[in-house]
Each structure stands twice: as C-alpha cells, then as structure tokens.
C-alpha cells in the first residue's frame, strides 16, 4: 500500500470537503432552476419513504419498549413508575425517534444511493447523461435530497408514535400500568419546543443522508471494488455526521428555546 504524506492527505480531505459542499449547494440551488424532476422525486420518495416504513416501525417499537423496561427499573426505586410514559415520549420525540430513524434510513438509503450512482459512475452512465445534455445533479441528486428530507420527516413522526406505542405495550403488559395514566403522562409532558426540536432534526438528517450518499456514489472510482468502498464510506460518513450534527443541533435548539 502506497504511503501518503500528511500534506497530501490534508489536501485530499480538503478537496473532498470542497466537492461535497459544492454538490450539496447545487442540490439546493437546483430547486430554483429548470428542469425540475417531479416524477423522479416521487419515485425516490416511494423508494426512500415507503420502502423504509417497515424498518422504522420495528426500530421505533422496540426502542420505545426497551426504554420503558429500562427506565421502569430506576423509576420504581423512587416510586415514580407512573412517569414511564413521560420518559418514553420525551426521549422518543426529542432524541431517539429522529436519531434512530436517521441512522436506519442512512444504513438503508445512503448505501443504496452510493451503490446505484457508483455503478452508474463506473459504467460511464453518469458521463453518458452529461453527454446527452442532462445535469446529473438535477436529475439524480436533487430528487433524492428532496425525497429524503420530506420522507424522513414523516418517518420520524411514525417512529415517535410507534415508539410511544411500544413503551405502552411494556407499561401495560409487563409493568401493569394504567393505560389512561400512561397516555396522559406521555401526552401532557410534551411541549411545543420538544416537538419542534424532534421534527427539525430529520430535515437536516435527510439532507445529510442524500447528499453524502450521492457524493460518494458520484465520486466512486475503480470498478465494483470502488462501488463497494463508496457504499461503506457513505454509510459510515452519514451515520457519524448524523450523530455529530445531532449534538450541535440539540445544543443550538436548547439555547434557542431557553
């Protein structure tokens, strides 16, 4: 394996960041330019949104359920088992719903975008598209970005609801809590700022998933091995970026609402 100097490595990383920023910027700028690919956007919304419902429902349900199980142990020590609904709904809506949904969709769709666009790249289909007078960022990237942002928002809503439902199943069947008490606590503890915080995040996460997936796909090199590498990098980079962005967004939103 060829060794690369730190200066070269830094230059490479800086160049990659510049290319990513340009692609991300163009994907947004394309919204204000013709042509707009509505049919492609709807198709991507189906692939990204409808296709991810099952994993999001399963993830949300079991996260809510295990959250109820774990927190009940501690709450019981203080005689506050009735607060289970509050803990589950606040945790799901503010943090776990958006983050876990983002990570699951990143694993499923950032990899899908990177492998699809990467295959097109290494088989010259991207060049063919440009040669045919079509801008690949308009035809391929922007529809995926719009679809990811919109669908992740709704997937997060589903995940939050199912998560609170999962918590209720445990609270009701395992902890023998009153259903009315659980739902009242879950509902009344939520404030407007919690919902805004929880539903602002997926907008950013959706953007990250689509732009990172498309960036790695469009910059894939070196045949099928390169496509495989791009796919892995897309999942790793989008997951890390989601977690890092979540921290800064949370800090920003908390500061905003206090």
């Amino acid at each position: 394996m060829e060794l690369i100097s730190p200066a070269e490595l830094a230059k490479e990383k800086l160049h990659a960041m510049q290319e990513y920023s340009l692609l991300a910027g163009r994907s947004v700028g394309n919204l204000f330019r013709q042509p707009r690919y509505l049919a492609d956007t709807l198709q991507q919304a189906d692939v990204i949104g409808v296709g991810s419902v099952s994993i999001v429902v399963l993830t949300g349900f079991f996260t809510g359920a295990v959250l109820a199980l774990q927190t009940s142990q501690t709450l019981q020590q203080f005689g506050s088992l009735s607060l289970t609904g509050q803990v589950v709904s606040l945790s799901m809506v503010r943090e776990l719903g958006p983050v876990l949904t983002g990570l699951m969709v990143a694993g499923r769709n950032a990899s899908g975008m990177a492998s699809e666009l990467g295959s097109m790249r290494v088989t010259e289909q991207i060049d063919a598209m440009r040669a045919l007078g079509t801008d690949p960022t308009k035809k391929l990237v922007t529809p995926r970005v719009v679809a990811s942002v919109v669908m992740l928002f709704f997937l997060t809503v589903i995940s939050d609801l199912v998560g609170v439902g999962g918590g209720f199943m445990v609270a009701s069947l395992v902890l023998n809590l009153d259903a009315n008490q659980y739902w009242t606590m879950a509902y009344q503890s939520l404030e407007f700022k919690d919902v805004v915080m929880g539903l602002t995040k997926p907008v950013f996460f959706g953007f990250i998933i689509a732009t990172v997936g498309c960036y790695y796909g469009l910059s894939a090199r070196g045949g099928t091995q390169g496509v495989g590498r791009a796919t892995t990098q897309a999942v790793v980079a989008s997951s890390v970026l989601i977690l890092a962005t979540n921290f800064f967004l949370t800090k920003l939103l908390i500061a905003w609402f206090t």
Binding site: P35, E124, Q125, D127, R130, A131, L132, G133, T134, D135
Partner: protein, 282 residues
Amino acid sequence: MSTTLSPPRGAGAPAAEQRGATIVFEDVAIEFEEKPVLDGVSFELPQGETKVLLGVAGAGKTTILKLVLGLIKPDRGRITVLGQDVSAMPEEDLFGLRGRIGMVFQESALFDSLTVEENVAFRLMEEGKLSEEEIHRRVAEALRFVELEHTLAMMPSELSGGMRRRVAIARAMVSEPEILLYDSPTGGLDPITSTTIIELIVKQRDFYKTSALLVSHRLQDGFMMASHYFDTAANEMRPLAQASRTDVHTTFLVLREGKVIFDGASRELAASRDEYIREYIA
C-alpha cells in the same frame, strides 16, 4: 441493410477546407496525476468530415472526445466546438452545447434501468420539445436505422455486446446531432459484428453527412471507412472503385504519447515514411 435511403453524397460535395470547422483544437495539453496525456495537440474537424483517431492505448484518444464534450477541462490551450470555446464554458452552459453532439461510449454506457426505447428517447424526453407520439416515431426510426426496432421493450442486459453498441449509435443519432463522437465502437467485438458497426457508421456518414470523430485501436476500421461508401440502392456498404472520384470525407489523426504525429488522408498515411507510423500500420 433493409432501410431505403436517398443517394449518398458524391464527388460533388464541397471540399472540406471550404467548409467551416466544427471542432478546433489549439495547442491543447492535459495531464492526469502529473502524467501528461495530451501535449500541444492541434487539429481541425471540417464540417461533414469524419476523422479517425488512431493510436495505442493511453495515447489520449478518448481524452480528446471527453474534451470536446467539456466532460474534462484542458490544462492549456483552447478547444472550439461549433463556434463555442468549451475550454472556458461553465458546466451549466455546456449542457446546451452537448445537446448538439452525439456520443457513442466505448462500453455503450446505456442506462441499465431503462428499456431500449427509454434509452434512445432519453435526450428527446429531456428536451421536452416533442410529443410522445413524435418521440416514439423518432426512436423507432433510429432503431430501424440500426436494424433493432424489435428491441424497443428490451432491457440493455438482454442485448448482446454488438446490439448494445448499435443501440448506443441510435441513441447518439436520434436527435440529429451536428457532431458525432465514437469511442472505440468496435472494441471487444468479433470481426463480423465490427464490420456491421462500421457499416452503420459509414451509412450514417454518407446519409446524414454528420461531422464525426472516431476513436479506434483497429487500423482496419479506419481504412474500411476511407475505402468504402454506402450504396443506398443496394442498401449495403461497397468498396470504392480504384478510379473513383467519390470523396468519402474521411481523414486520419495519429497520436503518439500525447502528440499528433500525423493528420491527413488515408493515402498520405499509407505513404508515410515515419518509422512509428510504418510500424503501426504494418
């Protein structure tokens, strides 16, 4: 060949030098990873002429085609295509110009998730100027030209290598471009299929009279193009008679290590005294 065509261009066609140049390269240089690929390349492609780019692998032939389309930018020099300086044009402006150029990629580069009809119709659909019926008619006509009209609903993966290459030709010519670029259209094909592809290119040249750059490793492809014309009455490619004055407007450009070492007609190429060229054409 079953398509009925009007008579090909004969000796009465205007001489290349009297017509404007569609592509002009002036002292073009480009390097990849500090390795020079083209170094001071200059040539012109007159309107209606087909220029065959010859050279060993890595000589920079495909790079020239990508430079024409503005898919990559030169490090030095100027490239003028259809009167526009592509070396200085931003990507956004290049899409309009690319709509006037057709390109056949080395491995066809068909969109594997689209049917043959969707592949060929891609540019027309994107332009959005024609009705669906008109697009279908034009696609069917282009596929009839390459004798693959029965493949409309097939996926690229269901086609053989030669058929994919013919669909790529149909896709490139469906919008009646002013320039056609062929990147090794016979690469990896058997001799019979290669001849079929060259026959299609000759038919395209003599019927539509489109200016073209053709990259090839195979010298016989170029010589076949320079020594044959498409007989529309017989609907097949025929060799030019020795005494024929028919001008098929096909010239050669030979590249060696990123430099142009020959630019001229087939007779001049055959008579060249350059040792490398003699060895190359031997």
